[in-house]
Symmetry: C2
Subunit: 304 residues, 2 copies
C-alpha cells in the first residue's frame, strides 16, 4: 500500500470510528481517564458495617452514556480490588437510563435485588457459603373496613363490579406505600361515600403466590370502623352494589366470601357480648429510627 | 480521489463497520427482519382484561444482543400501534442480560415497576389521568416468638450481638419469601435451639421508611409459642446472650425494647387470667386462587 493510501486508511478508520460509535469513544476516553484517576482500582462506594460496599452509578462520575463494555471493564477492575479487600457483598444502584450497566453486571454474577421507578439495585454475594443478604419487600397490604352501625346491627357491604360471582364483602383496597392500616377509613370513604372512624383491628389473613400481587404475598386486614355518616354514595366505577346489610344476614348468606362470613360471625358475637371481646386495640408509639410513629396492635391490657 | 482510493475508502468503511460494531449490525438486520415480518407494527404481547398489554422480551424473538437504538425503534413502532388500539398500559418484562432495553424504554416514559433476580418489569400508563396500575410489594414481614413456660412464668429472650444497647427481646427474624407467620417457630429454633409450637398471634406493629427494609415498610408480628424443649443452645453468630427470664422482670426492666416490654405485660396478664384473653387464634382455609391455603387470625369465636 502506498503511503498516501495508508494515510487514507488511518484517516478513514478514524472517521469510521467516529461515525460508528462516537458516543462509545467519548465514553471510553472518559472511562480511561476515570481509571487513570482512580489508579485503575475500584469504583468509589460506601462501605457498610456488614462488610459490603454500595456503589451508586449516578454518583461516581461515570459518563451517562458509558457503554456496556467500558462499564464491564471498570467493574472487573473493581471486583478484583473489592475481593482482595475481603468485601463480602456489592450493591449497585443503577439509574434507569444507565440500565445497560445492569446487563454488564449480570455477566459478572450480579442479580436484581429490587427496582423502583427510576433506579434498580443489583447485588452480588462474594462471601463464603449461601448469600446472607436481606431480601426486599415481599408483601402487599390490603385493608378493608367493617363499618358497624350498633343501633341496628347492620354493616356496610359492597359487591365489586365485573366479578363473575356477586359476593358481598367489606369495602377496602390496597394500601398505598407508606399508608397505615387505619387507611381503611379512606378506602371506605372513596368506595362508598360513608365517613367513619377507626375502632379496632379484627382479623389478618396471610396468603402467598397471589396472582393480584405479581406472585408475591398478600396480607389482608379487616378493621372495625364506627360510622360518622349513613347516606351511601358509592363509586360506580368500582362497585355494582353497596348496602347496609344486617350482620345476621351476612353471616348466613352464601353470597359472600369465606372471610367476610367469618368476620360477620365475629362481629355478631361482639355486638352481643361487647366489642372488647373481639377487638385488637391500636396505639401509636415513637419509632426508633425515623422520628416517626409506628402503630402497635394487640389486645387491650386492662389497667390494673 | 482516484478510483482505487475510492475503492479503498469503501472497503475500509465496510471493514471499519464490521470491526466497530459487527454485533450491532447483526442485530439491526435481525430487527429489520422482525419489523418486516411483523409488518412494522408492534412487539407481540399478551392483552389483559384491564386494557393493558404485557410484552416479555425473552419471548418475542428479539436477538439477545439487540442494541438500545434498534430496540428503541421497535418500541416506538409498537407504542404507536398500541395507542391507536386504545391500550391503556404497557408492561415490559426485561431479562437482566437485555437490561439496555430498559434504558431505551425509560427514554419513552417507562419506569421500573419491580425487579427480581434475573428480570425487571417496567410499566407505562397511557390511559387518561393518573396511573391506575397496581404497585408492587411494600412490606417485609418480621416474626418473633414469645416462648412462655407456663410452669414458672418465664419467657425465652435474647440479646443481639453487635448492638450498642444490650436490650432483651424475643428471638425472631425476617420471613423468607412464601413463609407463614408461624415460621416464628423456625426462627426461634435456629436462634436459641429451643423447640416450640405455635399457639397464637399476640401483636402486630406496622412501621414505614424502615432503614432495614431499604426504606420500605415493615410489619413485625409477635406470636405466643409453647416450649417443647428447655435446654438453650443459642447461635453465637447472632446472639450475645439467651436466657429464660421471668415475665415480671421483663415487664419491669429498662434493658428491653418498648414492644417487648409491652408484650411482656400482655403475657403477664394472660398468665394470670388465661391466655384466651390475649390470643388471636389461627386457622387455615383453602385459598381461592392457588389451590394452597391461607392463614386467618382473629379472636376465637366461642361455639354457641
Amino acid at each position: 500500500m502506498t503511503p498516501s493510501a495508508l494515510l487514507c486508511q488511518f484517516r478513514l478508520i478514524g472517521l469510521c470510528r467516529k461515525w460508528c460509535s462516537s458516543r462509545a469513544f467519548t465514553c471510553q476516553a472518559a472511562v480511561n481517564q476515570l481509571r487513570r484517576e482512580q489508579g485503575a482500582t475500584a469504583l468509589a462506594g460506601r462501605v457498610d458495617r456488614f462488610g459490603g460496599i454500595t456503589v451508586d452509578l449516578a454518583d461516581v462520575g461515570l459518563p451517562k452514556d458509558i457503554s456496556e463494555t467500558a462499564f464491564a471493564d471498570l467493574l472487573t477492575d473493581s471486583l478484583g480490588r473489592w475481593k482482595s479487600e475481603g468485601k463480602v457483598a456489592v450493591w449497585l444502584r443503577v439509574p434507569i437510563a444507565m440500565s445497560r450497566c445492569a446487563g454488564a453486571a449480570a455477566a459478572r454474577g450480579f442479580t436484581f435485588h429490587h427496582a423502583q421507578e427510576r433506579h434498580a439495585v443489583l447485588s452480588l454475594w462474594m462471601g463464603a457459603g449461601e448469600s446472607k443478604l436481606p431480601g426486599f419487600a415481599t408483601h402487599q397490604i390490603g385493608v378493608a373496613g367493617a363499618v358497624v352501625d350498633e343501633s341496628n346491627g347492620k354493616v356496610l357491604v359492597v359487591q365489586d363490579k365485573n366479578k363473575t360471582k356477586n359476593a358481598w364483602k367489606f369495602p377496602g383496597g390496597l394500601s398505598d406505600p407508606g399508608e397505615n392500616i387505619v387507611t381503611a377509613v379512606r378506602e371506605v370513604l372513596e368506595e362508598t361515600g360513608i365517613r367513619s372512624e377507626f375502632r379496632s383491628l379484627l382479623s389478618i389473613r396471610q396468603q402467598h403466590n397471589h396472582p393480584g400481587a405479581f406472585g408475591m404475598s398478600d396480607i389482608y386486614v379487616i378493621c372495625r370502623l364506627r360510622p360518622l355518616s349513613y347516606d351511601i354514595h358509592f363509586c360506580t366505577r368500582e362497585c355494582e352494589r353497596c348496602e347496609w346489610l344486617s350482620l345476621a344476614e351476612l353471616a348466613r348468606t352464601a353470597d359472600t366470601t369465606p372471610i367476610t362470613s367469618r368476620v360477620a360471625r365475629l362481629l355478631l358475637h361482639g355486638l352481643e357480648r361487647g366489642f372488647e371481646s373481639i377487638d385488637l386495640a391500636m396505639e401509636e408509639l415513637p419509632a426508633v429510627y425515623s422520628g416517626m410513629f409506628y402503630q402497635l396492635y394487640h389486645r387491650q391490657i386492662p389497667s390494673s
